[in-house]
């Protein structure tokens, strides 16, 4: 039974009882005006009931109705309205507001409900938006996670499939990264190697003498590392593999915090190098033998060992001899170049009075200069001692003097020794045809040749100056063209450290180091 009906009944009862009481009080007052008949009790009761009924109809009902209507309007209806609105709100429609405006407690209730709803709405909204944010963040996280996973998988795949061994070392010298190739190379499993000090897993030996530079340690100490390939790694099973290595150092804020070592198995490269060396030495030997025969036999023919030589044969035979000489020079030069490039040139260092070295070459070259009518002399600080490889020094000098003779038809060639700090500078100057600026640029490159202006044929093998310059540099000096004026002559100079100087010491020490540690002086 709803409020409205309850109210109606209560009001009715209230009014009815009040009116009845009022009537009972009022009745005796009215009685004298009404015909009082002495009737039986029954009639009095009937009469009273009749009066009550009339009163009820005439007074109680209207009054009840009025009061009911008033109360309904001011209380029940608003409540019903509240009910409606709140029901609507409860079902999710937070936009509904209570419109009722009155200044009493009901109005206040309405306002409070509105406020409550507003707060609820706000709370709900912020909850909804945070929920949305959460969902978004989650989505983003998922995306980054997937990306990271992909990257990680890619890196792992890369490291696993790379053929070079990649080993990461932290600042405590422990291995933090060890790829599959590293595992294959060393014989240690990845999980065995991780966290071990690197020197337990990576054992290096020098190629020749069993002692290897700890280049990883050097890298940590900040010493610059060359990529080198004269080191052998000892596997777990004591097998040995030649490797080429390079170390990259990781720095954070200027401090070394780790290193990455890359090793490559160069067994195959080694084999190829060896094959090449064997080929070069066999080839050069094989080539020289027949050339020696040609040259030797021609000289014997000229010396009359095979009977008289007809004059027509002299020229062609002479040309054959010259050609053979050129072939021989070429083979020697190529062999030198090959040795220079492989770093297999042997140097025997010592102290020499420079005049001894110079004189040897001049004596050798004299017949050629005499033939051409060109003067040949030495001058300057000839008593100085140099620290060098005698054969190579002589080779350089003979190359320069030989060139001078080739390009000079008259005048003279001078070899001058001059002091230049810790070095002795040897200058070979001639009064020959000189070299143009353009040709000068190409001078020290391989196979550069200056053509004979008359015959158009190139002179020389084209390797002489390249080789001489390499020798000079390796020995602590250099080789260069001082000056050359076409038509007047040229001056070529090379320098060599004086014995007993710091430079000489540097050169000496450099050659004592294993090849991989040798620096370019």
């Amino acid at each position: 039974m709803n409020l409205s009906r309850k109210l109606a009944i209560l009001i009715f009862l209230g009014v009815f009882i009040s009116v009845t009481w009022a009537t009972l009080l009022v009745l005796p007052l009215i009685d004298p005006y009404i015909k009082m008949q002495t009737q039986g009790f029954f009639e009095i009761v009937l009469f009273t009931i009749l009066k009550l009924i009339i009163l009820t109809i005439v007074i109680v009902l209207p009054v009840t109705a009025t009061i009911w209507v008033l109360i309904t309007k001011s209380i029940i209806k608003p409540l019903g309205y509240f009910n409606e609105v709140t029901r609507s709100i409860a079902s999710g429609n937070l936009g509904k507001k209570i419109e009722f405006i009155s200044k009493d407690e009901l109005g206040e209730l309405g306002e409070n409900i509105n406020l409550m709803v507003k707060n609820l709405a706000t709370a709900f909204q912020s909850m909804a938006s945070s929920l949305r944010n959460e969902k978004l963040k989650e989505k983003e996280l998922e995306v980054s996670y997937t990306r990271l996973e992909k990257e990680k998988a890619k890196d792992e795949a890369l490291l696993t499939n790379i053929n070079d061994a990649v080993i990461g070392i932290n600042k405590d010298s422990r291995i933090i990264l060890f790829n599959k190739a590293a595992s294959n190379l060393t014989g240690f499993d990845q999980n065995e190697a991780i966290n071990m000090p690197y020197y337990w897993v990576l054992k290096f030996l020098g190629e020749k003498d069993g002692v290897a530079l700890d280049f990883i340690n050097q890298a940590f100490s900040g010493i610059e590392q060359k990529n080198s390939n004269h080191v052998v790694i000892e596997k777990r099973d004591k097998g040995k593999i030649p490797v080429s290595h390079s170390v990259g150092v990781i720095r954070t804020g200027g401090q070394v915090t780790g290193a990455v070592v890359v090793l490559r198995d160069i067994t195959r490269e080694r084999e190829l190098e060896q094959m090449k060396d064997e080929f070069v030495s066999i080839a050069s030997h094989e080539l020289r033998t027949p050339m020696t025969a040609i040259k030797g036999l021609i000289s014997m023919i000229f010396e009359g060992d095979f009977g008289n030589l007809s004059t027509e044969l002299k020229d062609p035979l002479s040309d054959i001899a010259t050609s053979t000489d050129r072939l021989i020079s070429l083979v020697n030069d190529m062999l030198d170049v090959s040795r220079i490039e492989a770093g297999r040139l042997k140097f025997i260092l010592g102290e020499y009075v420079v005049s001894d070295l110079i004189d040897e070459i001049l004596v050798l070259m004299e017949p050629l200069t005499k033939e051409k009518g060109v003067g040949l002399e030495s001058t300057g600080e000839l008593e100085r001692k140099v620290f060098t490889d005698a054969n190579k020094f002589k080779q350089i000098l003979s190359n320069l003097v030989g060139n001078a003779i080739k390009f000079t038809d008259h005048g003279k060639i001078t070899v001058e020794a001059k002091l230049n700090g810790e070095l002795l500078k040897i200058s070979v100057s001639d009064t020959g045809m000189g070299i143009s600026k353009e040709d000068q640029k190409k001078l020290f490159t391989k196979f550069s040749q200056i053509t004979d202006s008359q015959s158009g044929r190139p002179k020389g093998t084209g390797l002489g100056l390249y080789i001489s310059k390499e020798f000079a540099k390796k020995l602590g000096g250099d080789l260069w063209i001082e000056n050359s004026v076409p038509g007047y002559g040229s001056i070529f100079s090379f320098s060599s450290p004086l014995s007993g100087t710091n430079m000489a010491k540097k050169v000496d020490e450099n050659f004592k180091k294993p090849i991989e540690a040798q620096i370019k002086i």
């Binding site: 050069s284 030997h285 020289r288 033998t289 027949p290 050339m291 020696t292 025969a293 040259k295 030797g296 036999l297 000289s299 014997m300 010396e303 060992d305 021989i328 083979v331 020697n332 040795r339 040139l345 042997k346 140097f347 025997i348 490889d389 054969n391």
Partner: protein, 125 residues
């Protein structure tokens, strides 16, 4: 007449040197590799030995060692004929080099120079 032993594996070169020495008044005996050469030296006791360095089987350096180790041959003067420069020859240490009288680079030394050097040496010793 002085006797020269030429140990050289290339037949043409061998013929050439032999020709030159014989024309210059020498007696010549030959071998084409190291072991046979040492044998010849022991047997024939030459006055001079001309030795090629690069040969099959026993090469010149080993032959030189053997010659200098053997009482009967160690005093015979030996000169090396080769294509390898002194400082690049494997196995040729300072000691061995000291035992050699001449070091001729085959490709730049004429046969006449070889003979001249040997003649001069034998004349002064």
């Amino acid at each position: 007449m002085a006797l020269v032993l030429i140990i050289e594996d290339d037949p043409i070169l061998l013929k050439m040197y032999r020709e030159k020495f014989e024309r210059s008044g020498f007696e010549v005996t030959t071998a084409v590799e190291g072991e046979a050469g040492v044998f010849r030296a022991l047997n024939d006791q030459p006055d001079f030995i001309v030795l090629d360095v690069m040969m099959p089987k026993m090469d010149g350096v080993q032959a030189l060692k053997k010659l200098k180790e053997n009482e009967k041959t160690k005093n015979i003067p030996v000169a090396l004929l080769t294509v390898i420069p002194k400082d690049q020859a494997p196995g040729l240490n300072k000691e061995l080099l000291g035992e050699i009288v001449f070091y001729w680079m085959k490709d730049t030394t004429k046969p006449s120079e070889v003979v001249a050097d040997v003649t001069k040496y034998l004349d002064s010793h």
